[in-house]
């Protein structure tokens, strides 16, 4: 028998990046005895290497805890820790759909920031009960009272009962748990109705195969049950049911209102679509639940194996990763210079970096990443042999014959930026440089909220990094897409040693082409090691060179001393060099290191 509905609480922890969600989750787990002191580590739910290294959450995680409240009853808490970075907003939205409430964590020193707002508005849309938590009150710069007022003024929710915590030093944790029990409503659900469970998340586990996180709305799931995925149309036999506490724990069943995982011998990655509704084979529910809004990737780039022989391995690895992360897309691509690979779509540049890093790390692949691009819509005029048509351009390499182009449109976004006013000047300049159009500027206390319309292709590469660096980390940023607009866009080629390098070509606005070209050439000059000959690097639009740099020839590279007949050291060096050579791609006889392809695009100080 599963837990009585009145004793269940399902909630997400949401916040702006770094405000302490994962650390708060640690404390909640500890107080509820989910892990012993010895098993505990910092941000224990951030279990991917890459999350631990970067200190950020990428993937939402769900934990079931038992908490005995002051009223003497023991509650089942299903806690979902979510990421704060804008690129992973999709993870947040899925978690929210599986809960009845949210803990809104706000840093007592930083106050309300862009993702605080973006996430809280999503939560409100789900009719959630929101419990404000003001965290990091241990910091000398903490101003909990001001932050309380900010929450009320900017977000417009009552913060008079906001819980004050220091997740780091364990202050206020019981208060958070009591507030969860008292304020967040228990789930509704009917045990006897036909099964309706939402497929919240799915991932590939090397031991269990495909694991599926579900939120049961009505009915129940047990081992041995035959289930149907209503959207996917496939049927499966459930062979394991359980939850994470946060250790994996098998359960007899998952009942209404509960969150847990199942495995069902699912082989095909595509079968476990996030947002699908799971019901029973026999006497299933007639209508599915409302699914998730499909996410649209906004940044595209090509991923190619350094070693062409790794293509199959790359295909398999991308398939597995995709199961872990429904928000990126991929399709096969071939390039003259790079051979077989994939064109992949991502939610943002950090997302791209993370996927690339996970592929190389978890699947041991050496990859070449081509310049990221957004999706352009191009209207082509007719020719003698072809009709007029409209195409979508994902890859600068496919840029059509310019004489056929009648119009190019590019995606625009509305960006909302929050910043302490002292950085406003620099931020306005940044937006202006990126072809932004200011639509609103509001002051709230010592802060400014500025709204800009910006072309997405000016934002995808390094806008976020630049924003952070010019505001010393204080400005925050959120955006939404607002459709396509016509632009005077051209394709810029980069020529290395007089040969165009496909993977470096990009689409730019004519007004900034020369400046971008110059920047690219300058950066490539530093990124490509000196060779035995001098290397011209040029940026060109059509046949016209718009920028040029030269990498001087190498002048010294030698082991001066070869001592006492010790040949082995020199031989090791030669072996290392040969290996390094095998890992670089040659263009026009020039070896370009992999990291250069993305690094060349970072615009840096301007």
């Amino acid at each position: 028998m599963s837990t009585d509905l009145s004793l269940i609480r399902n909630f997400s922890i949401i916040a702006h990046i770094d405000h302490g969600k994962s650390t708060l989750a640690d404390r909640l787990i500890q107080v509820c005895g989910g892990l012993t002191e010895r098993e505990m580590s910092e941000q224990v739910l951030d279990n991917m290497d890459i999350e631990r290294e970067r200190g950020i959450t990428i993937k939402a995680q769900t934990v079931r805890l038992n908490y005995t409240a002051k009223d003497g009853k023991t509650y089942e808490l299903n806690l979902m820790d979510t990421p704060g970075h804008v690129d992973f907003a999709y993870e947040v939205s899925r978690s929210l759909a599986a809960c009845e409430g949210a803990l809104l964590v706000v840093d007592a020193a930083q106050g309300v920031e862009a993702q605080t707002l973006a996430n809280v508005y999503q939560s409100i849309e789900h009719d959630h009960e929101i419990v404000p938590v003001i965290n990091k009150i241990d910091l000398p710069a903490a101003e909990p009272e001001m932050v309380r007022k900010e929450i009320e003024d900017i977000i417009g929710i009552d913060a008079s009962e906001a819980v004050l915590t220091s997740a780091k030093s364990g202050i206020g944790i019981e208060d958070v748990l009591e507030a969860v029990v008292a304020k967040i409503p228990p789930p509704k659900g009917d045990r006897d109705a036909p099964l309706k469970a939402m497929l919240v998340d799915s991932w590939y586990d090397p031991y269990l195969g495909v694991v599926i996180l579900v939120r049961v709305m009505d009915g129940w799931i047990k081992k041995g049950l035959e289930v149907k995925f209503m959207q996917g149309g496939t049927t499966h036999l459930v062979d394991r049911v359980g939850c994470f506490s946060p250790k994996r724990t098998d359960l007899p069943e998952i009942g209404p209102g509960e969150i847990g995982f199942i495995t069902a011998q699912i082989k095909e990655v595509e079968q476990a679509r996030v947002g699908d509704t799971i019901t029973t084979m026999k006497n299933g529910a007639p209508t599915p639940l409302k699914g998730y809004k499909e996410v649209q990737p906004v940044v595209f780039c090509g991923l190619f194996p350094v070693d062409a022989a790794d293509f199959e391995k790359l295909r398999e690895s991308i398939g597995k990763l995709r199961l872990n992360d429904a928000s990126f897309s991929y399709e096969m691509e071939t390039s003259a210079a790079l051979g077989f690979g994939f064109r992949c779509g991502f939610l943002g540049l950090l997302h791209l970096e993370i996927i690339q890093e996970r592929l190389s790390r978890e699947y041991d692949l050496d990859l070449i990443t081509t310049a990221p691009s957004v999706v352009y819509r191009i209207q082509l005029g007719h020719t003698k042999t072809e009709d007029a048509q409209t195409i979508e351009l994902h890859n600068p390499a496919d840029y059509p014959d310019p004489s056929r182009i009648e119009m190019i449109e590019e995606p625009w976004i509305k960006a909302v930026i929050y910043t302490p006013d002292e950085y406003l000047g620099a931020i306005l300049k940044l937006c202006q440089d990126r072809r932004g159009i200011q639509t609103d500027l509001t002051y709230v206390g010592g802060r400014a909220q500025v709204t800009y319309e910006l072309p997405l292709n000016e934002v995808v590469f390094d806008f976020y990094d630049r924003l952070k660096s010019i505001s010393r980390g204080y400005a925050s940023f959120d955006y939404e897409q607002i459709g396509l607009r016509e632009g005077d866009l051209v394709k810029m080629n980069i020529l290395v040693n007089n040969e165009p390098v496909d993977a470096l070509s990009l689409i730019v606005h004519r007004s900034v082409a020369e400046e971008r070209g110059r920047g690219m050439c300058e950066r490539l000059k530093d990124l490509i090691p000196r060779h035995l000959f001098k290397i011209p690097i040029q940026a060109a639009i059509g046949g016209k060179i718009i920028a040029r740099e030269t990498i001087a020839a190498l002048r010294k590279d030698v082991t001066a001393k070869c001592y006492g007949g010790d040949i082995s050291r020199k031989k090791k060096l030669l072996e290392k060099q040969k290996k390094g050579k095998a890992r670089m791609r040659e263009y026009g006889n020039v070896s370009i290191p992999q990291e250069a392809f993305i690094a060349a695009l970072r615009m840096g100080e301007e």
Partner: protein, 384 residues
Amino acid sequence: MMARALYIHWPFCLKKCPYCDFNSHVRDGVDVARWQAALVADMRAEAALASGEKLSSIFFGGGTPSLMPPALVEALLREAEALWGFAEGIEITLEGNPSSVEARNYADLASAGVNRASLGLQALDDAKLRFLGRLHSAEEGLRALETAQNVFERVSFDLIYALPGHTPEEWRAELSRALGLGTSHLSLYQLTIEPGTKFATMVRQGDFAPLDDDAAADLYSLTQELTSAAGLPAYEISNHARHGEESRHNLTYWRYQDYVGIGPGAHGRRSGMATQRHRKPENWLSAVEERGSGCQHELAIPVPEQASEALLMGLRLAEGLDIAALARRFALPEEQLVDFAELEQLASYGLVTREASHITVTPAGMPLLDAILPRVVADGLVAA
């Protein structure tokens, strides 16, 4: 092919120099009798495996072999002669430091049989010597050189250049002075910061920055210009000699002929085998005393790898090497030894020349040898 060259390593120094990554150690006292017995035993162990041809060169390297008691040197030479025999005109070199203490030994070392000295002068002014952590002064070094030139038949010395901030003017003056000291052989090494040395730590901590490669390249060409004009052109990347005065012993390495190496950390090549002695003096000593040999590794080198070694050593020499001869020696086709397409390209940059089957790295190519080798040496020869 049988060994005609013998290397003997003496691992002790009075002080460790901050740039040095050789197998050198500072010890309070050395039990000379024990070391003599052990070096003799190590020599016998190798002679048992590789003898038959007379030695044409012996090299005492270190460490600081000029600290060896002359009687020990003499005993080792006598043993070597008994084991292999000496070829007519054998070259017997001993490395030394030019302090006044050691200079007192030179005459006795010469009587013991040493006929060539290689002195670690390293610099001709006190500020540079101090930076390099050397124990001798400039004055002392010059006097030691004079003593050596009086007692040994041939004397070479080393200088280190391309120090931090080293200007072409300074180096021109110093090298010109050195060339005026009546030597017929010079080793001129650019300072390199080797991992694990004190200098490596200092560079990491920002105490000084090494000279940048372009400036070092300028000093390298200046060096070629001055030494050639003085009649001591480079015959190897860092070694210069009047014609006929090259170090025969070192040519053995570079021409990839066999050599016996004994003493701590010594390397040897014995018909396709690489031999390496225990590096740490104490470990080597106990190995010899227990098993009669200080050898730690003895490894068969696959033929293609031998060919790669021959290439990477041979191309250091101004004389270059003959691919056809190499192909015969290792019974491999020429195109499996070198990448001819790369060679052609490198030739077009003026970095190598090729005449029939003979290839030579040009003076312009020499300072780039490490970048040239991975292109020239055929892929199949290198384990990658």
